[in-house]
Symmetry: C2
Subunit: 189 residues, 2 copies
């Protein structure tokens, strides 16, 4: 499809098209837009890809994305290091932080156990959680998503932690605030 373009442009279109949720038409539009950008904006876009790729890494402690060895949440003296909230991905940390209600630490699994997709507990960051529990951690909140895999992962980790004498709780499940009972699915009710 991109044979009609000059090679440099069709390469760029192909790159955009390889991104999730970007089709061929959108990829064309994005590529043309990039061509129309001033040189310094295009340069800064390219740089930001490489910079993000090289600078962003996982926190040694909580596995959340950071640009230093230990992320700003783990290294903050203001956070309550007695509570760890276990989430599936970095986006979940953002969601929790936006509420401003949680003052503990996080642990990011980077996935959930999913035998259907061949993802076992060894493929996610469970083993990094256990060493964190030999201290003053009194509670672990399992905040994985409420799908089948999220539930299974929460139960798996809860069983793993239980012998260590740490309280394990699950994030509350129910009707979202402002939602109508009428439109809530049977299982939630």
């Amino acid at each position: 499809m991109t044979d009609y373009y000059v090679p440099a442009l069709s390469q760029l279109i192909d790159h955009f098209e390889s991104l999730p949720s970007i089709g061929h038409k959108t990829a064309q539009r994005l590529a043309f837009y990039v061509l129309s950008l001033p040189q310094e904006r295009a340069q800064s876009f390219a740089d930001s890809i490489l910079h993000a790729k090289s600078a962003v890494r996982c926190c040694d402690v909580c596995q959340n994305l950071t640009d230093s060895d230990v992320c700003h949440i783990c290294s903050s003296p203001k956070r309550d290091n007695g509570i760890i909230c276990v989430v599936e991905g970095p986006k979940d940390v953002i969601s929790m932080e936006k509420t401003g209600e949680f003052n503990g630490l996080y642990h990011v699994l980077h996935g959930v156990v999913s035998p259907m997709d061949g993802i076992s507990a060894d493929d996610i960051r469970v083993k990094e959680l256990l060493p964190r529990l030999n201290g003053n951690v009194s509670e672990v909140i399992m905040a994985t998503n409420s799908g089948v895999e999220g539930e299974a992962t929460a139960i798996y980790i809860a069983r793993l932690i239980k012998p260590m004498g740490v309280k394990v709780t699950r994030i509350a499940q129910g009707i979202p605030i402002g939602a109508d009972l009428e439109f809530t699915d049977k299982i939630t009710l």
Copy 2:
């Protein structure tokens, strides 16, 4: 909104969000996807942006996008250099080329005259068209889009060319092949 992310990541999200038709959620998803790419793929993405920006330029003759001084259509001995098809943008050339029915040359205006947006004839590539008509060009086909601006631009250029004794035609307008009369707007009918 992106303050919760590390700076390198939030910069990348901002860059994606500045692209047309990309909202904040999509920008986040794209940025996370780029982070998950292998290093060489991310490098090649960044390179393709810079390469497209530096290599792609306008053909000296027809103003279409190319990576050489004169594009492959203008320099092809197989094309009929007696007919020039005037289009609004490089995408229109692709659309025409895909039909495989047109064997003449193109002229890309890079826009249309639009007083509402402050775009005059001097802002588009009209002046580059006139010198091309002092030769063996016998026909100019105006293939601008059929909106108000496209029509006005076609009429403007036709008047400009008329004194030079070149035949000016307009691309046929009507019901698209396969379309129902029922769903065709009044003006087209």
